[in-house]
């Protein structure tokens, strides 16, 4: 690394760019970052506080706003653990076993990344809606999915499906199965092997995947919008509530809730950075062993 440091402090470095080129490159990157990311995020907070602190807290303390926050947290609290279990199972199956249709399974795991979230939402309306394939059957059983919390959870699970599995598959593939075999030959049961050998080896990658999954689960708009029905206080998550407030010209309200969502994102980012800072070596070690 020291040669890199020299390259950036010493202008005479033979492979480095001339000072002018370097300044332009850095300038472009910073300006782009500022315009595309910092400015909009700043605008959220500026707009939220435009009419003062009282207006801000007034907007947040509204019944429907609080309900939206609770609902967002609830949906994430169900969707993330569900995808945690699934992602772990899928990564385990893909990394540690050979079976037919494996590449197909990998492709399917990636599907939510390549399909527009709005389409994902529509799929569920077509499946579970009143006029959908399974709608009449579910109706007869008294189960409602579309326009309920269940629908929101299902749509969110679909959209955030790949995050944990995708994080774990390469990690587990690289680690192979030798340590598990060693554990079994030493007399460990399947569960003991999982909790004492497999899990500790992937724990940091797993946490990383959970954070990414959680961030997306809380911020999802498109798929959730289609299945929600926008019933205030019942099926409006934070992103949906923001849109409604904005369409009603309640800018302070919209940006106040948006600022909360931003704060949740910041917490996620901070946790992620903390993980990388505190356990960076473990993360790197998991990747490179």
């Amino acid at each position: 690394m020291s040669f890199l440091k020299r390259a950036f402090t010493d202008g005479s470095n033979p492979v480095g760019e001339p000072v002018g080129v370097r300044a332009i490159l850095i300038g472009v990157a910073v300006a782009y970052l500022f315009v595309m990311l910092v400015l909009p995020t700043g605008a959220v907070f500026v707009e939220a506080f435009r009419k003062g602190l009282d207006a801000y807290f007034g907007a947040i303390e509204q019944r429907h706003a609080l309900a939206a926050v609770r609902l967002t947290l609830l949906v994430a609290a169900i969707a993330v653990p569900a995808n945690l279990v699934f992602g772990l199972a899928a990564a385990w199956a893909i990394a540690k076993f050979e079976f037919r249709g494996k590449s197909l399974l990998i492709t399917f795991i990636d599907l939510p990344f390549s399909v527009s979230p709005v389409i994902s939402g529509l799929i569920y309306v077509l499946l579970f809606g009143a006029h959908g394939w399974l709608g009449p059957t579910l109706d007869a059983l008294g189960i409602k999915i579309i326009f309920t919390v269940a629908g929101l959870v299902i749509a969110t699970i679909f959209v955030t499906f790949p995050f944990i599995a995708r994080e774990l598959i390469p990690l587990m593939q690289e680690q192979g199965t030798e340590q598990e075999q060693a554990a079994i030959s030493l007399g460990a049961s399947g569960l003991q092997t999982f909790f004492r050998v497999t899990l500790p080896n992937i724990i940091w990658g797993l946490l990383y995947g959970v954070l990414l999954c959680n961030a997306r689960a809380m911020g999802e708009f498109g798929a959730v919008s289609v299945v929600s029905g926008h019933i205030r206080g019942k099926t409006n998550t934070m992103p949906l509530h923001i849109e409604i407030l904005y369409n009603e010209y309640d800018f302070v309200g919209a940006f106040a809730v948006a600022s909360l969502l931003c704060l949740l994102a910041f917490v996620t980012l901070a946790l992620k950075s903390l993980l990388e800072w505190r356990f960076g070596e473990h993360l790197a070690a998991e990747r490179h062993h």
Binding site: E178, Q179, Q181, A182, A183, S185, L186, G187, A188, N201
Partner: protein
């Protein structure tokens, strides 16, 4: 512990890894499974450990059938080629693993586990390394941790997969002597897989040479070196010269010279291959002496023996000869007559 293996068959898809293996391992024996890669030796070891299930065949230990016993119940100490140490655990935790995962009723108390780990680390000469992580150890040290971890469960049999494969030459030699000592001292029954014939011949009580999913020959190192049962074993063990010949009436003709061959006299006339070890070659200085006519190409005198490369005058075949230390080596370019103290003749595979 005596192990008996009968009729073991295993395929992976269309690939037949084992095609019917029978093997008996005697109590206290140090047995080597020797063969080229793909000969099935590692598969055999993994089936013994229970990590792989055979398609057919029977395994017994001291008479008890273990064919269907799960790997975790078999109590076989398995040492992996790349050690497979748990890298998130310290050396001591690695060694303790097999004790800690025992069912509560059989699990020793913490203090006892600590004592056992300490004594095992002393045994493998790593007593001060207990707090280190595997990543902080050298290859030879990791190997010994893997061994201590396998020994912790007081295995009925110790199975080692290419135990010295990933080590450099010097550590390898040291470690294998030490391992042999440990085996004798602890009264273990051990089976190890190797593709290195020197290692197998030096270390093992008996060597099973494997080829193409079968055991080609089993015997003491001396037996299989001196009396290879077939062309494969002959070629695989040690350096050997290979000469085309014709077998007839119990004799093998190489060029115009006839040699006695242990092939049935009534087999008729067939093409064969004669194997001669370099140390069994005899150089007769005069070109008129009986023997195969050959010309000295190169002489390598540096080393404990003198190695001589010769070329047959009739067929251009290259032959290597070893002369004992102190013998007078001919000059390159001289013509000599080659005699063979011992040669093995087998029918050529396609006849």
């Amino acid at each position: 512990m005596s192990i008996s293996i009968t009729g073991l068959v295993k395929s992976f898809g269309h690939y037949a890894a084992l095609r019917g293996v029978d093997l008996n391992v005697r109590p206290g024996e140090f047995l080597a499974l020797l063969g080229p890669s793909g000969s099935g030796k590692t598969t055999l070891l993994r089936i013994l450990s229970g990590l792989e299930a055979p398609d057919a065949g029977r395994l017994t230990i001291d008479g008890a059938d273990i064919s269907h016993q799960r790997a975790r119940d078999r109590q076989m100490g398995f040492v992996f080629q790349h050690y497979a140490l748990f890298r998130h655990m310290t050396v001591a935790e690695n060694v303790a693993f097999g004790l800690r995962v025992k069912p509560r009723a059989q699990r020793p108390a913490n203090a006892e586990i600590g004592e056992r780990v300490d004594s095992l680390l002393r045994l493998v000469q790593l007593e001060r390394m207990g707090d280190r992580y595997p990543a902080q150890l050298s290859g030879g040290q990791r190997q010994r941790v893997a061994l201590a971890r396998a020994l912790a469960i007081e295995p009925r049999v110790l199975l080692l997969d290419e135990p010295f494969g990933a080590l450099d030459a010097k550590v390898r030699k040291e470690l294998r002597r030490w391992l042999r000592g440990l085996h004798d001292e602890m009264g273990l029954t051990s089976i190890f897989v190797s593709h290195d014939q020197e290692e197998a011949l030096e270390l093992a009580d008996r060597v099973a040479v494997m080829s193409d999913g079968r055991i080609a020959q089993i015997g003491t190192p001396l037996e299989i070196y001196r009396n290879p049962a077939n062309a494969f074993v002959c070629e695989f063990l040690g350096n050997t010269n290979r000469l085309d010949c014709v077998i007839e009436n119990g004799r093998a003709a190489i060029g115009d010279q006839l040699f006695y061959a242990s092939v049935p006299a009534d087999a008729g006339r067939l093409r064969g291959i004669a194997y001669v070890r370099p140390e069994d070659c005899e150089l007769r200085p005069s070109a008129d002496a009986p023997g195969l006519k050959a010309k000295v190409v190169k002489v390598f005198a540096a080393g404990p023996t003198t190695r001589i490369e010769l070329r047959r005058l009739e067929s251009d075949e290259v032959i290597e000869a070893l002369l004992p230390h102190g013998a007078v080596a001919p000059q390159p370019g001289t013509e000599v007559a080659l005699g063979f103290r011992q040669l093995r003749v087998f029918p050529a595979p396609n006849t």
